[in-house]
Symmetry: C2
Subunit: 167 residues, 2 copies
């Protein structure tokens, strides 16, 4: 196996990273997202320095992760195929109608998705060709009846059959 494509063998959540600083804002597709700590509640997102969101996140020191539902694949594709350098994606119809203000940080978030985690940047670490951003969750909202969109092998899937409970 070519290690270049190793991440295709991992299932990933499908999320949108929301950042804002001054009069700049962006919403970007991110799947290298994981939990890191329960207490304090920390999560990570790995962002390439090439991405427009990278500097905005460093400047603002805060961000939100919006977890997408299994019928929101088009939002991820829209965010993932346009750069915030060229246009403000929040001004496009799909995002404009879902926009709301976060509770504890100064970024827009989605009013309808599986969950929103509002984070303060706790640290950032260079890791290869990405920067690992660690955020402390200062506020979160979620929908209990929603199902997540899953990314695997560069394809979106719904969650499938229940297998068993984790012990």
């Amino acid at each position: 196996m070519n290690t270049l494509f190793y991440s295709r063998h991992l299932v990933h959540p499908v999320t949108l990273l929301s950042v804002a600083h001054g009069d700049k804002e962006n919403i970007a597709a991110m799947s290298w997202v994981s939990a890191l700590s329960r207490n304090p509640p920390l999560l990570m997102v790995a962002v390439s320095p090439k991405r427009y969101s990278h500097q905005l996140l460093l400047d603002s020191q805060e961000f939100a992760i919006n977890i997408l539902k299994d019928n929101q694949n088009e939002l991820s594709t829209l965010a993932g195929t346009h750069s915030g350098r060229n246009e403000n994606k929040w001004e496009s119809e799909p995002f404009r109608k879902l926009r709301k203000t976060a509770t504890k940080i100064g970024v827009p978030v989605l009013k309808d998705c599986l969950a929103v985690f509002e984070c303060k940047l706790e640290q950032h670490i260079p890791t290869g060709d990405h920067t690992l951003f660690v955020g402390e969750i200062v506020h979160s909202e979620s929908q209990t009846e929603a199902n997540p969109l899953v990314l695997f092998n560069r394809q979106y899937f719904q969650l499938g059959n229940f297998v068993s409970k984790y012990p």
Copy 2:
């Protein structure tokens, strides 16, 4: 929402961490695993300092991540409900019959699973109540026809319906 349970809203891969040092070895269930970098190929696993694997990993500076298939939930449950402090899980029947030697590092790995990533520890960072271990993948193997086991809301699932391709 209680932030304590925020990770329930993220889908996670179901993996087994394999570590060995001297005459000690362990295989442990880990789901806080993510890709971090393509070049070099880096991945992360978050491990609590309370876990038996934590010190073994620091001592040996290498580890393997075994990604489980959707019919291997019992391996995860077995690894997740027993501590390597009390017994060597590799000596139990389910693991003994799947054991093989890794190619480039000195740990046992699974001969049948979705993928195996053999890693050299690149750095480790304290993040809240876990330690974030960053590994560089030095060898990997995978099965192209296999489907992954998915963890969501403390339950195992199969992958479900295909939705669309990631652009």
